[in-house]
Amino acid sequence: MNTLSTYLIIAALLFGLGLLGVLQRRNLIGMLISIELMLNGANINFMAFNRFLAPEPAVGQIITLFVMGLAAAEAAIGLSIILALFRKFRSINVERAQQMRG
């Protein structure tokens, strides 16, 4: 139960689910949510390595903290982009937001 690989598998599953969301959702907010899932998957990995392998248990936690901070920034920017897009296209469907196609 409390082994490294358990956590890694849980993290992988979380990451995979997030990935699935990013790939198939058309709702931009849905995609953002999925990205948060993926970030959490990564965070679990950090914490797990910190718990089972790392020489200094503080370092992994600090990294997780940083990731959280960056995730907050990412969410802020992402959401504002979504709002801007929504104003422009009256939609938050990614498939409509394709002005750069070749």
Partner: protein, 665 residues
Amino acid sequence: MSWLFKDPVLLAAVLCTWLPFLSMAVILIFTRHKPQLSSYISIGAVSTSLICALYLLIKLVHVGEPVEYRTAWLIADDIIIPFGYLFDPLSLLMLLIVAVISFLVQVYSLGYMAGDPGFSRYYAFQSLFAWAMMDMVIAPGMLQLYIFWELVGLASYLLIGFYYEKWSAGQAGKKAFVMTRLGDIGFFLGLILLVLGFGDLGIVAMNEAAQAQAIPSYLITASALLIFCGVIGKSAQFPLLTWLPDAMEGPTPVSALLHSATMVAAGVYMFSRIFPFFAASPTAMAIALAIGTITMLLSSTMAMATYDIKQVWAYSTVSQLGFMVMGLAAGGYFAGVFHLTTHAGFKALLFLCSGVFIHEYHSNDMRDIGKGGGRSLKIPMVCMTVGALALSGVFPFSGFFSKEAIMGVLAAYPNKIWLLAGLLGALMTAYYSFRLIFMILFPKKVDATMPHDAVHYHQEKDDKIQIDHEEAAAGHGAAHGHGSSHGHEEGHGNVFWYMAWPLIILTTITLVLGFFQHSLEGFLLGHAADAHGGEGGHGAGHYALLIAAVSMGLAGIAWAYYEFGRKGASQEGFLARLPKTQALFANRWYIDRFLRRFLDRAIYGGLTNVFTRNDRRVIDGGIDGFCLFTIGSGRLFSFLQSGMLQYNLLVMVAAVGLVVLYFVV
């Protein structure tokens, strides 16, 4: 410039050759819109040239050695192209011929071209021609000769196509230029060969080296044959002879000047210019003899079948040029040059006479002129008969002497076939010349009103102006391209005498020139007599030959009289009874058709077509295809760049996943 005035000979030479150029420039740039002034400038220039040429001849007539002036026109490494003047008997003689004929023709043109809208242009081109021809004549080196030779061709192109509204005139000019150019390519290559093989293109140097056998014989033969191509093109020898009859599209004075007396004679002149060089190669001489003979016979037959008065003289010019080439190629330096001289006189005369008829009757057809009352124009009629007698080689006209000289050379040639050909040519020449004379002199009376018209034309000169106008209105005169309502405002007589005086002068020349044979021979062969061995000494055979040749000429005249001249003659000629032969002759032995076919099939239809298609399809097509491929593949790949983030990411993820699986699992 002081060097110029120190030497009167040089000054005369410079004036002689460059005044016409100056007059051309002045006319083209300043006096284009003042026709009268332009013509005076041009005639003034050419008469100064004439005076200078006379001065040069008198001054230098006793100088044994050739006088040479030269300056470097261009220095490129080992090639030096000099510009300068070479005065020896031949060039002095030819310079005088050119100056005299140019002068007379320009005076004549005052009448003939009066009122033409392109009057100034005409005189500018005449000056251009005079300049080019004179510089060519006294060129000391072959390259200068070639350069002005080409310029003469240019002037000829411009003058033939003078009536540029006429499609056929443009075509004829183009044909003349391209065909002579074809010959010139050979000339040019011959010169290059000589430059590379021998190095010096000075005429004196070439001739001396050839005589001293300092040039290898294969080089002489090869370059002589190539240079002879130039003669073929310029002097309208077989197989490039058809441009000359077509060139009759130009104004008649132009035909007289360029296509009888001077420009076409340039080929023969060049031949005689480097005669010792040619003479050093028996092969080249034999080929030239053969070509001259073929040309003479072919064009004589052509002249028998045409009714166009200018065409007859054009064919006859070709034929006589062939005769000159024969004489030269058979070794008769003096004979060829002498015939060139006499021919220049009487052929210019013949053309100018025809010009008067054409000017009066607005038709080139000898039957129309005859019916119109050509015989009533006394001066041209008499002059033309004199010219025709000279052409036929009848004593005591100049043609007799020069033809005899050539016959003598041919008789001295071991193979008698050339002599026979020459005699046959003399017969035909007499026949076709007098066919023309008789047709004009004794028109066939089919239409009863015609004599009336003739009287009308001649005697009521005041009415004639009106007739001219009527004819112009009927569009008859317009066929000639120049308006017919010209010139008469200033009085008909004035115009007529502009045209008559040159005729009278030329007739006089034709009458007396023959008797100067020996002095000319002495002058021309003076210093070189030993080298050539002279052409005298035909001995007893000479008289037999003389009788044979004259009787041939008289037989031709008699034949023509029987068919065209006597009362009740059918005026059809024996050719009318041989339709196939007539067709053959009238169609110029199908040389033109062959050339046309060749041009259409091989050049336009063949190479041009293939190359153009290649350009469109293969090169451009290849490039465009390549571009299309690029664009297409861009389109193809742009599907991946659909702008749909999720597909991009999907592919990325799948790819990374596969890579990880491949390496790790």
